[in-house]
């Protein structure tokens, strides 16, 4: 008797779960989370005030160009999010430009010649195996190597600034060679256009 009841319960739960699964498969709706109710005036008063927004001077945006060039019309942040200039990668402890790095820089030269008004900061980065202190100098060596190569291919030196972040801002927070390879780089940021 008891067993029958349990069986029925199990069957009912199974049927429900199966149905639910099928429903999910048929209808992949995003998970809906309950939204918190808007805070009432009284509740808001007891809460500590939100930290002030960081004050930042708005970037000066030049007038929209007439051309339908999406790169040229994008904001600096949008531009940098899509990395129009490809980073170059380095071997451990090294600031030497590999053939791949030179090819990548040659491509970047094409972009820099097309958008001749851009100024660019070249960031030097290192992986976590080097020490924090020496990595500041090594990151600078990498940025300078990339800059020198671009200048040798005809880019005006005054368009290219360098800054080293050592190993302070890894692109990949992992602790394996795949992550390290991504973090040993010269990274390009368009700072004005």
């Amino acid at each position: 008797m008891k067993t029958d009841a349990m069986k029925r319960t199990v069957a009912a739960i199974s049927a429900f779960l199966l149905g639910a699964t099928i429903a999910c498969h048929k209808n992949p709706k995003p998970v809906v989370r309950a939204t918190p109710p808007p805070p009432r005036a009284g509740a808001a008063a007891t809460r500590p005030p939100a930290p002030p927004e960081p004050v930042a001077e708005p970037a000066i945006v030049p007038p929209e160009p007439v051309a339908e060039d999406r790169i040229a019309s994008a904001s600096l942040d949008d531009l940098n999010r899509n990395s129009p200039l490809k980073p170059v990668f380095f071997a451990l402890d090294s600031d030497e430009l590999t053939p791949d790095a030179q090819k990548s820089l040659a491509d970047d030269v094409g972009v820099l010649k097309k958008y001749a008004s851009w100024t660019v900061t070249i960031e030097g980065h290192c992986d976590e195996r080097g020490t924090a202190e020496y990595n500041l100098a090594l990151g600078e060596r990498r940025a300078v190597a990339a800059r020198a190569y671009l200048v040798s291919l005809g880019i005006a030196a005054d368009r290219l600034r360098t800054v080293s972040y050592g190993k302070e801002f890894p692109f990949d927070p992992g602790h394996d060679e795949a992550a390290y390879a991504k973090n040993r780089r010269a990274h390009f940021v368009v700072t004005s256009k």
Binding site: Y134, L136, E140
Partner: protein, 462 residues
């Protein structure tokens, strides 16, 4: 928490002029305590134990003379912190807590159970009383020779800061009994990303790092910069009132000095032509900073500048990296890092840069962050690559013998000496993230100082 001020009553006038007269941050004028009452001079003697064995101390809980909650709490805190402070230097051995609990507790200085302490083989007993008074407590402490029952050292303190009272007692007991420069009132500084604040002006997800300070034992951790960018490599000024560090708040890295008790900021390096500047190191007299800079184009070179930004002088001039300086205690020499052989190695040169440099790290594949010990030792601690990660090593400058302090647990970097040369702070990933640890100079008694976020590049105040 702000450090409140107090004036220790000195038992001996000669004591004031001794090395124990250490710089404490001055209080705001409104918190100046009234001048302390005079106390008659005492005869100082030293507690000693059997030859070659540290003296054995009994340190029963301090006695709360007034029974209000605050006084009882401070008595408990002073007892606990003092025990840890004394234990940190390993100059005494201690009657264990559970044994102390079997001895009838004294109610003051007149009913100390000397016979019982004698039976327990104690050489000294340190008794303290805590009494409420306006603005805090008065703590009286007396150290007795158990055999002669004579007072070896005694002093009174007034403050509301129990930790500071305990640290001061510890430093003064070490000074008077062991001729040791105690470091219980020194502080650590380091860089931390614990706030999880995001850098502005970058499309990548980058977290800011700010400069923090903490007591030597990791208590009272406080943030001292709030500029929401990268702030790294902090260094205490010799007087413990300022911190020089590398900050990216103007874009390229520059050397800044925060006068943390005045709330003022100095831009030591600045301007469009200054290039990148990093890793400031104070000269022992606190008047100048050595640092690495790319200001003349090319790789990082070493420079010296007055702390007010004047008197710039270039020390190195080659095509290699020259960086990460540290001064000898005399100020005559600078140890630094150069990659002139193809890998970073440690060199020593005259502080004026004249006469070339001598390589110090003879057998390392990769060495960085030299840190020159204070006297009485003459050693340089550094980071060495030992495998996939790094370890802390120390080279004795007289014998050039190298010893290793850490052995491949996580990676270990950025050693910095305590003011008495007996301890080091460093960064290690052995517990997961980057954290600050302290360790004795022979590699014993590891202690974790930070636990939140990533914390790096410690420095220890004089």
């Amino acid at each position: 928490m702000r450090t409140s001020f107090f004036i220790p009553f000195l038992a001996l006038a000669a004591f004031v002029a001794g090395p124990a007269a250490r710089q404490q941050p001055p209080p705001p004028a409104s918190q100046q305590p009234p001048p302390p009452p005079q106390q008659p001079s005492e005869i100082e003697t030293r507690i000693s134990g059997d030859p070659g064995v540290p003296p054995r101390l009994a340190v029963p809980d301090f006695i709360a003379i007034t029974k209000d909650k605050e006084t009882v709490e401070i008595a408990r805190l002073v007892s606990q912190v003092l025990w840890d402070d004394l234990n940190f230097e390993r100059e005494f051995s201690f009657i264990p807590h559970d044994v102390i609990a079997t001895v009838p507790a004294a109610t003051g200085f007149n009913d100390i159970a000397f016979d019982r302490w004698r039976e327990l083989n104690a050489d000294g007993v340190l008794v303290g009383t805590v009494e409420k008074q306006a603005g805090g407590v008065k703590v009286a402490m007396k150290l007795f020779n158990v055999r002669t029952r004579q007072q070896a050292f005694a002093k009174e303190y007034t403050s509301a800061n129990g930790r500071l009272i305990a640290h001061t007692i510890s430093d003064e007991v070490h000074e008077s009994q062991r001729a040791l420069h105690g470091i219980a009132r020194t502080k650590l500084t380091f860089s931390s990303d614990r706030d999880g604040e995001r850098m502005t002006g970058t499309v990548e997800k980058r977290e800011v790092k700010e400069i923090y300070i903490a007591d030597y034992d990791g208590e009272n951790q406080r943030r001292v910069t709030v500029n929401r960018t990268l702030n790294i490599t902090p260094r205490w000024s010799p007087d413990g009132r300022s911190i020089a560090y590398t900050s990216y708040r103007r874009g390229p890295p520059q050397v800044f000095i925060s006068n943390i008790f005045q709330g003022t900021l100095e831009e030591t390096t600045k301007g469009d032509r200054a290039g990148q500047n990093w890793l400031p190191a104070w000269s022992p007299d606190g008047q100048r900073l050595a640092f690495g800079s790319t200001r003349d184009g090319g790789t990082s070179q070493l420079y010296v500048i007055n702390r007010d930004g004047s008197g710039l002088r270039r020390l190195t001039n080659d095509r290699w990296v020259n960086t990460t300086p540290t001064w000898s205690p005399s100020g005559n020499q600078i140890a630094f890092v150069s990659d002139r052989t193809g890998s970073p190695q440690i060199y020593v040169m005259n502080a004026d840069g004249v006469g070339g440099a001598q390589r110090l790290s003879a057998s390392e594949g990769y060495a960085d962050k030299p840190s020159w010990s204070p006297p009485p030792f003459n050693e340089i601690a550094y980071t060495a690559r030992t495998g996939p990660g790094n370890d802390i090593k120390i080279i004795d400058m007289a014998t050039r013998v190298v010893r290793q302090l850490t052995f491949g647990e996580g990676t270990n970097e950025s050693p910095a000496w305590a003011a008495n040369g007996r301890h080091l702070a460093f960064m290690s990933t052995r517990s997961g993230k980057e954290q600050i640890f302290t360790i004795d100079r022979m590699g014993q008694h590891l202690k974790q100082i930070t636990k939140t976020g990533n914390n790096q590049q410690p420095d220890w105040s004089r």
